[in-house]
Every structure is written in C-alpha cells, then in structure tokens.
Symmetry: C2
Subunit: 259 residues, 2 copies
DNA sequence: TCTGCTGTATCGCAATGCAATACTGTTTAT
DNA sequence: ATAAACAGTATTGCATTGCGATACAGCAGA
C-alpha cells in the first residue's frame, strides 16, 4: 500500500483492499475480468485473484460461468435495503414523496448531502428520462444541483462560503454553470425564497426545483426535488403549481417539529 | 473462524470478516455499537474494533459523534447504483415500468430470483403502503410471492418440483400459504395463464399479480409485478385492467426478441 | 466518589495474506 | 493445423499483518 504510509495499527489492509475491488465497478465498468480488476485497482494480479475469489465465495460478486467476468451481486441491493432502515429521514420521507408524486405527476426525488456531492436516496420517476436520472445512489457535485443549492442556502455564512469557494464543479452540459459567483447568487436567491431552481445543469432542457429539509438547528442535510421538462413547464407554472406542494412536503418531512 | 474449517488457500479471511460486519446491519439493527457488533458477528471485541475502524476510515460506516454508534453510509447506495448498471435487464425495464406505472396508477415492481428468494430490484410505489413494501433490496421467500411463482412457472418440471419441495416458507400473515400442494397449484395455474396471482401472502388485503420475463431459453429469472389493495380491486377488474398491460410490459422487457 | 460500562490503545506471536512463479485452457494469427 | 499470446487458476516460501488478551480512558448511574 504505497499511497497511505503510516496508517495506524488498527487498520485492516486486506479489508480495505477488498472493498476497493467492489468500488472498481461503476457505470462505465459494469463487469470486469480479473485482469481488468488488477489494472483498475492497481493491485497485484494474484492479490486481486484472492480478493475477488473471496468476494465471490461470500456472495458479493457474481461470476459469469462462460466469460469468467465478475459483476455486482444482489447483495449490493441488500445493502441499500439496510441503508434505508438506518437513515432517520427516509422513513418519514417515503409516504410523503409518494403523495407528492401522485399529486404532481412529475418525477420527485429525495437527496442528501454527502461530503461535497449530493446523492439521490429515493427516486420516484414519472416520466421517461435517461437511465442515470432514474436510479438511486447517483452522486453529483453539490454546487451544480438544485438539491445542493437548496441545502447550502440553509447553512451559516462561513460554511456556505467555504463550500462555494472549494467544492468541485464539473461540466455536464454546455450550459452547466462553472462560474462560482453565479452559483453564489443562485444560493442566495434560494435562501431568500426557501427553494432553489436549476436549469440545464445536468441535462439540457431540464428544470429542477428543490426545497431543503431542515433539522432542528435550521441546517439542512437533505432536500426534496422535482425535476421536469422545460418543454412543458416555465417559471410561472413552476412557481404556481409545483413549488407550493413541494415546500409543504419538505416541511412535513423535516424532523424539527417532532422533537 | 470455527464454522468453515477448510477454506482453500485463496481465501482472505479478514475481508470476509469485514463484510460480515456490514451484513450485521438490517431492518431490526439499523445502528450498532461496537459491543453489539461483536455480539452479532460472534467475533472478538478487538477484532470488530479494527474491522469497524477500517470500514469507518474507508467511508463504509458512519459514526455518530455522540453515541459512537455505527450506521450504514451513503456508500451503500453507491453500490446499488453500480449494481443497476451491471444488471442487463434493468436498463430495458426501467422506462417500461414507468409507463406501466403511469398507465395503471398502481404500485409496480421489478424483481429477480436470487437463490430461493426473490429480491426487489426496481420499485415504483404509487400508493402508501408500509415501508418495507416500498424500498428496493428486500428479499422474500420465492414460493410465497407472485413474482417467485411467475418465475417458477416458466422453469422445466424437475427444477420447479425441486423448488416447490425444498425452498423455504415463512408465515408472514395468518393467510400466508404454507401448504406446498397449494403452492404447486398456484404455479401450475400461472404456467397455464402466463401470470401469477397471490393474495394476503405478505400483508393482509394485498393482491399481487406478476408476469415473468423470459430469457431466450424460455426460462425466467425476473418478473414484473403489480401490487394493489383488495379493497379497490377484485379478480375481474384485475384481469381486465391490469393483466393485459402487465403482460405487454413483461414481454417488452424480455430480452429474447432482441437476440 | 466509587462502580460498571463501552470505546480506545498497546503488544508479542504466529497465522495469514503477499507476490513470484508455474500451470492450464481458450482464442488469434500465421 | 500449429504456435504463440493471453487470461484464469493453482502452488509455495517468507514475513507482513491481522489476531485477541489485556490494560487504559471516559462517562454513565448509584
């Protein structure tokens, strides 16, 4: 392990390496051969062999009997299941999101902040979109999403500023905002109005509105989001039809009241 | 490791143990202390300490700063994300499920067979139900679910019989079928009609219909399912309104045609 | 303040995971 | 066809690394 020199004595390297094997699978690498795994993880071929073998025996990797390639197993979904039970917000959020989705008949999402990214935790797709926009677990740079901006809009000045300065940005479409001053404006507007809007950030012709879910300290860690097509919606209709129920839903989920 | 004596030399015990720590979290144990983890995994306290520490450092466990308890982290959802990209059926299924859900305005699920259980892979909840019925990754005994029966109905005799004889059953409601002969009837009926119906198996007052998704060999490994309330639906309306589009959807997802 | 708890740190031993290497089987090019 | 190239599988000796007993610290409640 050349990267991390002096890890304390209660660090189990073999476990960390094994998990790095799991992390090697992503949207561009849905299945991998042993050799490819070795390459991607930077580990020795025989190390990967043992780790992958163990993961396979323990049911974490599925092995195609003919190509010998490895793929994520159903166990990966079971972990998501366990996650849902452990997240204190999800239990309240789910029924309210369902109602919102039924009412709006538009795609509704629930996302949380995870470091400097947002991650989709619950998704209720209503319209056909591209695949990545309809499955859970997707991480996106927080500054580029309506969810991230809605959440940041509730944070105290110093934290918010630090985020705006330092958090990463990535160009997804030609219209992705890469200018941090514009992002600051967007967040301040969100702070004033109680919700954030973003346009064409992740995909073109997409309009997203997000309302933060505040904890007892007023600081949000999650948001409810509604994503619609700019073909069918504009600012006015958004504000009239979508924003009010969206805010209601967010407030209903917020744990502050129940404490 | 007393349980598995003679594991071959390419087995990394530390990795397996670490993963067992992850598996210790489930619906009844959403968060665990170090001591509780040691108990549940049957491992030594200091072993668990090191493993949990490693998992925490690597971002797999979240540690509550005040209670010191450990919880699943967002990484668990990221694994689900990777899983979705790797599952060859999910990409086709998703848009079609969305359409079906919009059309029926009822809860639609996509589940696969996983050993002797079924596992929910995609869920589009439309009505409020209990929490477990609306999140992905849930495993249920295949013989008790409409999905499992729909899938088994496409299997050749010997496999099907072996499953009916040996696969596990568990009582979820007072009306859960525990009689294997009845289950055989149900599966045979499904084979004749092309879809399976179940009633009150998992929760009372629930009606579920499932249509198998067959591979090129005619053998199903997945099914589309629609779950409705027996309060609003009966056999007739189910057959008229739900079954036809359900079968259409299942056929549209089946990969056989595209090969 | 004492007692019992739960989480954190230390340490010597040997079990265990490491990487080099050799083997097997399947695919590609000549 | 035959050979060469490649990917997956097995073996082995060595020392690194993970093991668990034990001792320490920080916080409850009595």
């Amino acid at each position: 392990m050349p990267d991390a020199e002096k890890r304390d004595s209660l660090f189990v390297g073999a476990l960390a390496k094994g998990l790095r094997v799991l992390r090697a699978f992503d949207e561009t690498h849905p299945e991998l051969s042993l050799g490819a795994l070795a390459q991607r993880t930077g580990m020795d071929k025989s190390t990967v062999q043992r780790l992958a073998n163990t993961l396979h025996q323990e049911g974490w990797l599925t092995k195609d009997p003919v190509t010998r390639r490895l793929r994520p197993s159903h166990a990966w979904l079971e972990l998501a299941y366990a996650y849902y039970w452990s997240d204190p917000l999800v239990g309240n959020a789910m029924p309210k999101l369902i109602e919102l989705s039924r009412h709006l008949e538009e795609t509704v999402n629930f996302a949380e902040i995870s470091g400097d990214h947002t991650i989709y935790v619950l998704r209720l797709p209503c319209q056909r979109t591209h695949f990545a926009a309809s499955i859970i677990g997707r991480r996106l740079p927080a500054l580029s999403t309506s969810v991230g901006r809605a959440i940041l809009s509730t944070w105290p000045e110093p934290d918010r500023d630090a985020a705006i300065e330092n958090w990463p940005l990535k160009e997804f479409t030609p219209r992705t905002t890469l200018d941090r001053a514009s992002i600051r404006n967007s967040i301040e507007e969100a702070a004033a109005r109680g919700f954030a809007i973003s346009r064409d950030e992740m995909i073109l012709n997409e309009l997203a509105v997000a309302a933060p879910i505040c904890g007892p300290d007023g600081r949000a860690i999650a948001a409810v989001q509604c994503s619609v097509s700019a073909y069918s919606w504009n600012d006015d209709s958004l504000l009239k039809k979508i924003v009010p129920p969206l805010l209601d839903t967010a407030n209903a989920i917020s744990p502050s009241l129940r404490m």
